[in-house]
């Protein structure tokens, strides 16, 4: 039985505002998952909290809409416990890089085969328009009335510095491209990161909407970018915030072994030396 995008769409009605970029992201996700072809029950889809983090509920996969910022620890627990699952994680820019920012480098260096999609709208949507870590400097919001005083973060540069094996960016302004990078991310055998410029129509900035994206967008392919070249990736990533590059920034041509593969090896190697469970106490026996 071949699966279609529809097979991944749940009955839950999205709470998203009409026109929210996240509609495009979930659509791209349906299509990418259909292309991958794993049945929904073999997929675990984890998120934190935020508008974007509602996404697992809109799919037919096993979903976990957890707590703010903790999608990655939970996703890693799932993957390591049941490596045969397809594990996805997703959430907002705040969820991923503010409260959850401490988990990202460690998820990446552990390198489990998880795809992490950040729906980056440079704002806190769910809580109604506060500053996000990707908000540009000077942005006026309800929590930065006189304008933000901080430099924004650069998610692309960060994850490259963290050593991610797959780093890409997309926008729902280019559904085909977005679908393609998500699919490629899932197929990458290791930790994969996709930053999606997903406009917030309600609290987002004017120049960050779908229409603007259509004008700003430059596919990395069209620029002749070599996705196996880390230095080039680092250089391109520096333009986050001023240029909207889409496509794959970096893809490790020699994906290192995943954590779960090493775990499997260790289990196989040590398994034979296990005492039977019911005789485990023998190890404490004196004489």
């Amino acid at each position: 039985m071949t699966l279609t995008a529809k097979d991944f769409k749940s009955d839950l009605k999205p709470i998203w505002c009409p026109g929210c970029g996240d509609f495009g992201v979930v659509q791209a996700m349906y299509r990418a998952l259909a292309a991958i072809g794993r049945p929904p029950h073999e997929i675990a889809f984890v998120s934190g909290i935020g508008c974007s983090s509602r996404i697992p509920g809109y799919t037919t996969a096993y979903g976990f809409n957890s707590v703010h910022g903790r999608a990655l620890p939970i996703a890693q627990g799932i993957k390591l416990a049941r490596p045969q699952l397809l594990v996805l994680a997703a959430g907002g820019d705040g969820d991923g890089f503010s409260i959850g920012g401490g988990h990202v480098p460690h998820a990446i260096r552990r390198n489990m085969d998880i795809t992490y999609v950040v729906m980056d709208n440079q704002i806190y949507g769910l809580t109604k328009g506060q500053l996000s870590p990707t908000s540009p400097r000077g942005l006026q919001t309800v929590t930065s009335v006189g304008g933000s005083l901080e430099q924004p973060i650069n998610p692309l540069l960060y994850v490259l510095a963290y050593g991610a094996g797959f780093v890409a960016q997309g926008t729902p302004a280019d559904m085909a491209g977005l679908t393609a990078v998500i699919e490629e991310a899932i197929r990458y055998p290791g930790f994969a990161f996709v930053n999606v410029q997903s406009p917030c129509v309600t609290y987002g900035q004017e120049n960050q909407q779908i229409k603007a994206h259509r004008e700003q967008m430059k596919t990395l392919a069209s620029l002749g970018h070599d996705a196996t070249n880390m230095a080039a990736a680092l250089a391109r990533a520096q333009h986050y915030g001023s240029e909207l590059y889409t496509g794959v920034f970096y893809k490790n041509p020699q994906p290192p072994q995943t954590f779960e593969a090493q775990a499997r090896e260790r289990q196989t190697q040590l398994g034979p030396s296990a005492r039977p469970r019911d005789r485990i106490l023998d190890m404490f026996r004196q004489q």
Partner: protein
């Protein structure tokens, strides 16, 4: 001849005091004694003062004991730093390094005249017979064997085994030192001999500490996932898992912090595996939000908190029982989770298995509330019949149920069959948001109230559990003691003392602290006129917790004090006596709490 011997030793980090203790302990265990060892160190990371207490007995050892029978000081500065932890009394035999130059009648012990005092040239004996000062601790073991009859066989056998890899010379050198010490003891006999009586029968004992016991139990119970972050005094659980869990098809991940530590375990549980995390107070504080998530998502989870002195970083290497409130109440909203407290190394096993069973049965996180003393002290235990222990697995949905699966279906028990990713038809959305029976988010107040009820009602059967309580003494006695965790061992000795003293007393040791099992408590307190709830916290946390759910007899009061100040059986009895007197003179007043 004696049946019980408490030996305390102190020196500086390099002196090998602790390994002497360990050698003695395992020798005693192999000789069939009951034995227990606790360690204590100065704040120096390495090379500071260090000490240990070893208690040996022909009867089960319930606690590390009070005043020392034997005190061994490698130097007095270090010894004295341990103050109340190594109390010398009028009945103590003091052995010390004569090189310290301290005269036997000028010991730096104020107000105490020990029973006997032996300055011994420990270092010189070591050098002379083993060729190295390092053998000092073997000399001590030889002296103890000579004077008190402990470890004469076991110590050398143990040393031989341990030193096997390093060639025969090292062992032989130590053997010479040991023999020399035996001779030294024979040449300087005790004025009042007090050898430890031989153990009644030689049952092979287990020897380990609470952390390892707990970890082993988790594996026995089917735990296949551990994630956590190091913290004293719980790290040994992770260390055990790092060695063992892989063998059982499981996996371990040392996380970046405690939030991720419990987060990964929550994920693994969602994925259908039995999962565990372990930490201490500060880590528990950080895990609060995730505890709430596991509660509302109804995911089984084993969570160990090895209590240490608080608040905040507090006294990381000392024991305290002040995390009970946190265990019961932390996390926002109406949440409840079972809390189980082991009282010694041996019962850590069964209780941890029980915790995993409860977690699976009720789909809830369960806290194993251990404490530093239990977790890090080494103890002999009688063999445990694992065949008598059941292992529970979570309720899976049947094929019919999976046709229209409702993850949070209202059932009579409040427990709904639980699926996991990979199970066809079981797909659902787990979430921290309130949900309906399908797991879909809701903000409906009525549904919220029903789900809250479901989550609380499913734990109701625990309120009638009586098996998780142990009563000692005459069940009809009018005077009562209650003690939990590591304090229970002291209270058991206090009970014996009180009874010997003619007091009609009994003792309740609760293993299930929450939910408050009203049935067990009420029946214990029926007819009680006066009593004490003994615990190591400033606030008397169990006492307060019980008041929430029970009308305690007026004569029952709290006897509580901050951690790192262990109770002594005698003072508990004295306090109980004072309580009775108060009761008599102060009939109409409010109960006195202290």
């Amino acid at each position: 001849m004696t049946t019980d011997l408490v030996i305390g030793m102190a020196g500086s980090g390099g002196d090998g005091i602790v390994s002497a203790g360990e050698a003695l302990l395992s020798a005693a265990a192999s000789e069939g004694y009951h034995a227990m060892m606790t360690k204590s160190f100065g704040s120096q990371i390495r090379g500071g003062e260090s000490s240990c207490r070893v208690r040996l007995s022909t009867e089960p050892v319930l606690n590390p004991g009070g005043t020392l029978d034997v005190a061994v000081a490698l130097n007095w500065d270090d010894f004295l730093k341990f103050g109340g932890e190594l109390p010398v009394g009028g009945n103590t035999v003091v052995i010390y390094e004569s090189k310290t130059g301290v005269l036997p009648d000028k010991l730096p012990l104020t107000g105490v005249v020990p029973a006997e005092v032996f300055p011994v040239p420990l270092q010189d004996l070591a050098k002379e017979f083993a060729g190295t000062e390092k053998a000092k601790n073997t000399v001590i073991l030889g002296l103890l064997a000579g004077w008190f009859g402990v470890g004469s066989k076991g110590v050398l056998a143990g040393l031989k085994k341990r030193l096997a890899k390093k060639g025969p010379e090292l062992f032989e050198a130590n053997e010479r030192a040991f023999q020399a010490a035996l001779r030294y003891a024979a040449e300087h006999p005790l004025a009042r001999p007090r050898s430890l009586r031989a153990p009644p029968k030689l049952t092979p004992k287990l020897l380990t500490d609470g952390n390892d016991m707990c970890a082993a139990a988790a594996i026995f119970a089917g735990c296949q996932f551990f994630s956590g972050y190091p913290i004293t005094p719980s790290t040994e659980i992770m260390q055990f898992m790092s060695r063992e869990i892989w063998k059982y098809g499981g996996a371990l991940v040392q996380c970046e912090d405690e939030i991720a530590g419990i987060g990964a375990a929550v994920g693994a549980s969602f994925a259908g595996k039995k999962a565990m995390t372990a930490t201490s107070g500060p880590g528990m504080s950080l895990k609060a939000e995730m505890m709430g998530l596991a509660t509302i998502a109804e995911l089984p989870l084993g969570v160990v908190n090895v209590q240490r002195g608080g608040p905040s970083t507090g006294l990381p290497t000392k024991t305290e029982q002040a995390d009970l409130f946190q265990a019961v109440f932390s996390a926002h909203g109406d949440v409840a989770r079972p809390i189980l407290a082991p009282t010694c190394v041996a019962d850590s096993f069964g209780l941890t298995v029980e915790a995993f069973n409860m977690a699976e049965e009720y789909q809830t996180p369960v806290i194993i509330l251990s404490d530093q003393e239990i977790s890090q002290r080494k103890e002999t235990c009688d063999p445990i019949d694992t065949a008598a222990l059941r292992v529970v697995d979570r309720l899976a949905p049947g094929p019919a149920e999976l046709e229209d699966y409702k993850r949070y279906r209202f059932t009579e028990t409040g427990v709904s069959p639980i699926s996991h990713p990979g199970m066809r038809g079981g797909n659902y959305l787990a979430a921290g948001i309130e949900h309906n029976e399908h797991g879909d988010p809701t903000a409906n107040g009525v549904m919220h109230a029903r789900m809250n009820s479901k989550r609380f009602d499913k734990l109701r059967p625990l309120q009638t559990r009586k098996d998780l309580f142990k009563t000692y003494g005459d069940p009809d006695a009018p005077f009562a003691l209650v003690a939990w965790g590591s304090t229970a061992g002291v209270a058991r000795e206090a009970l014996a003392l009180a009874q010997a003293d003619g007091l009609k007393a009994k003792l309740l040791v609760p293993y299930l602290l929450f939910p408050v099992a009203t049935a067990a408590w009420t029946s214990f307190f029926a007819g009680v006129q006066a009593g004490l709830i003994v615990e190591q916290s400033h606030q008397g946390q169990l006492y307060r917790l019980l008041r929430m759910y029970l009308d305690l007899p007026r004569g029952v009061a709290s006897f509580a004090r901050s951690g790192a100040n262990p109770f002594q059986p005698k003072e508990i009895v004295a306090k109980l006596r004072r309580r009775l007197d108060n009761q008599r003179t102060d009939r109409d007043g409010q109960p006195h709490e202290e």
